[in-house]
């Protein structure tokens, strides 16, 4: 029970951190702006490139790009939160207080990541909705998304199944941040960029050279985005179930391995006395 209380307290702190810098509604709406712009940018690239390229414009491919862009932004938005929680926490002297408590900081990071997950689900879905209408407005085309209570439930399930993988990635980055005191601020950019290239968000991983394509296709995030597309674009239930199963297995594996990495890094960082080191 006390673990749940710690987790809840950390999650609540994350919500306060993310939303209380201005009014909650305003910060939530402002949080939609970046993923919306990101989704629009990739959609416009598709519209422009396909209209002037050899393949021709296909609304279902536009839906493919639109959904992929919204979801990679969602993963990126909460996978790097443990990094920020440590880096910012060291800078503002919050993190040393967390590690002085009797709990592992891993619990604190999980709470922060879960709160960011909740915020990010809302902002990325709103971004997807706004982009859906904006694309119709600017490009004069419909986007063939299958939106009904059933497909939305499947999408919601995919969001939940993706949590272990994203949290695992967060722990790996967090393990680095325990020791870093300069470069960790650039990790969000790297995470977003890597997800853009390797998670099948904007194009199929098969266009990457082998063995990179094989590695990208095996990532739980790639399966998550594929499952979400199966749910709300193609309505293909058997492929959805298969992708989600692979996403769950890969995600749990990532979480177990990277949590162990984080815990040993934390133990070593305590021993080396770097947990409150602000500057290199």
């Amino acid at each position: 029970m006390p673990s749940y209380r710690s987790l809840f307290a950390a999650a609540w702190m994350g919500i306060q951190h993310d939303l209380a810098w201005t009014t909650p509604a305003a910060s939530l709406l402002l949080g939609v702006v970046a993923p919306f712009a990101s989704v629009m940018t990739t959609s416009i690239i598709y519209w422009f490139g396909a209209s002037h390229g050899t393949s021709g414009f296909d609304p279902s491919h536009l839906a493919y790009v639109l959904v992929g862009a919204a979801l990679y932004a969602h993963i990126a938005a909460y996978a790097w939160v443990p990094t920020t929680a440590i880096a910012e926490g060291k800078n503002l002297a919050v993190f040393p207080h967390i590690y002085l408590t009797s709990r592992s900081t891993a619990l604190y990071l999980a709470g922060r990541a879960l709160s960011a997950f909740a915020t990010s689900v809302v902002t990325s879905l709103l971004a997807l909705c706004f982009a859906f209408y904006a694309v119709g407005l600017f490009m004069h085309t419909g986007v063939p998304l299958v939106v009904n209570p059933g497909t939305l439930t499947l999408l919601g399930l995919a969001f939940l199944v993706n949590i272990p993988g994203a949290l695992g990635l967060g722990y790996l980055l967090g393990a680095y941040s325990l020791y870093a005191s300069k470069f960790e601020w650039s990790l969000p950019g790297y995470v977003a960029g890597l997800l853009m290239v390797f998670s099948g968000a904007l194009f199929p991983p098969s266009i990457l050279p082998w063995p990179v394509s094989a590695g990208a296709a095996a990532l739980p995030f790639t399966f998550f985005i594929t499952a979400a597309r199966d749910a709300i674009i193609y309505g293909n239930m058997s492929d959805y179930a298969l992708s989600l199963t692979y996403c769950a297995i890969g995600g749990v594996l990532m979480l177990v391995v990277f949590l162990r990495v984080y815990l040993s890094a934390e133990k070593r960082a305590r021993r080396d006395g770097v947990l409150d080191r602000r500057l290199a």
Partner: protein, 269 residues
């Protein structure tokens, strides 16, 4: 105003920025991460939809996003970080001009971002062989004027961010992507191929990146010379001067207000 102390202040701030990057070569690797990966992703997106001939747009976007990110994170919000570190108090109590500091920061920032931009260019060139048909004098002049206008915008934002506390970081996060979108970092956002209505195109043209990217695409990929892009160059020069004046006025006004309110060097708000 004496010019020598002003120039020395500017040079000193530029050198600090250069030392901070080149004194730790790993920073170059760190800074190039997002521009390289986003240029790679957008190039692959163009290729995946059979639009290989537009890959150059994606690489140019990756180059310019390095500078845009530098303007936002190392110019606009820098005074806020300086306040947190206690460095801003030193600036205030010194006799150096804050405008000279900002210009020094800009010059240092431009030079420090060049390696990252060069790596994006080299990577794009090696992997995708974009088709270039350049009018080099026009490319050089456009690039220089775009950077001048862009960093002048950074100076203005820096002045405005002086009044903000932790909101500065959130504001950066809010404006980074939309500006990349409307300024057409990876596709034409103004002119006949733009997806945006005319009103949005006019608004977007107030951002130096929009005009700069448009003129760079015309001169780099379609061989248009200075005579063809003179209007873009004229607008960029105007924007550079306007933002320089705006930053100077804003800096003085907000410095005065901050001193009067006693909030100018409050570290964390």
């Amino acid at each position: 105003m004496e010019t020598r102390p002003w120039l020395r202040t500017m040079k000193a701030r530029a050198l600090v920025r250069l030392w901070s990057i080149f004194g730790e070569p790993l920073w170059v690797v760190v800074n190039m991460g997002f521009p390289v990966l986003s240029a790679l992703a957008m190039s692959l997106l163009y290729i995946s939809i059979g639009a290989q001939s537009y890959v150059g747009f994606a690489i140019l976007g990756g180059v310019m996003i390095s500078f845009w990110a530098n303007v936002l994170w190392s110019m606009a919000s820098n005074f806020n970080w300086d306040k947190q570190e206690g460095l801003f108090d030193v600036y205030l109590t010194s006799s150096g001009s804050l405008t000279a500091l900002l210009i020094g920061m800009s010059v240092g920032g431009i030079v420090a971002t060049v390696p990252s931009a060069a790596i994006v260019t080299a990577m794009g060139w090696a992997l995708f062989h974009p088709v270039v048909s350049a009018s080099w004098p026009a490319v050089v002049v456009t690039f220089a004027l775009t950077l001048a206008a862009l960093y002048a915008l950074g100076m203005t934002l820096s002045s405005l961010y002086l009044v903000y506390g932790r909101e500065a970081e959130n504001l950066n996060n809010v404006i980074q992507e939309p500006v990349s979108m409307v300024s057409g970092m990876y596709f034409p956002s103004i002119g006949p191929f733009s997806p945006f209505p005319f009103a949005i195109q006019v608004g977007a043209s107030l951002i130096p990146l929009t005009i700069g990217m448009d003129a760079l695409r015309k001169s780099l990929f379609y061989g248009q010379g200075i005579a063809a892009v003179w209007l873009d160059l004229f607008v960029l020069a105007d924007l550079a001067v306007a933002f320089l004046i705006a930053s100077s006025v804003a800096l003085r006004a907000l410095e005065k207000k901050g001193r009067a309110d006693g909030t100018i060097s409050v570290r964390i708000r």
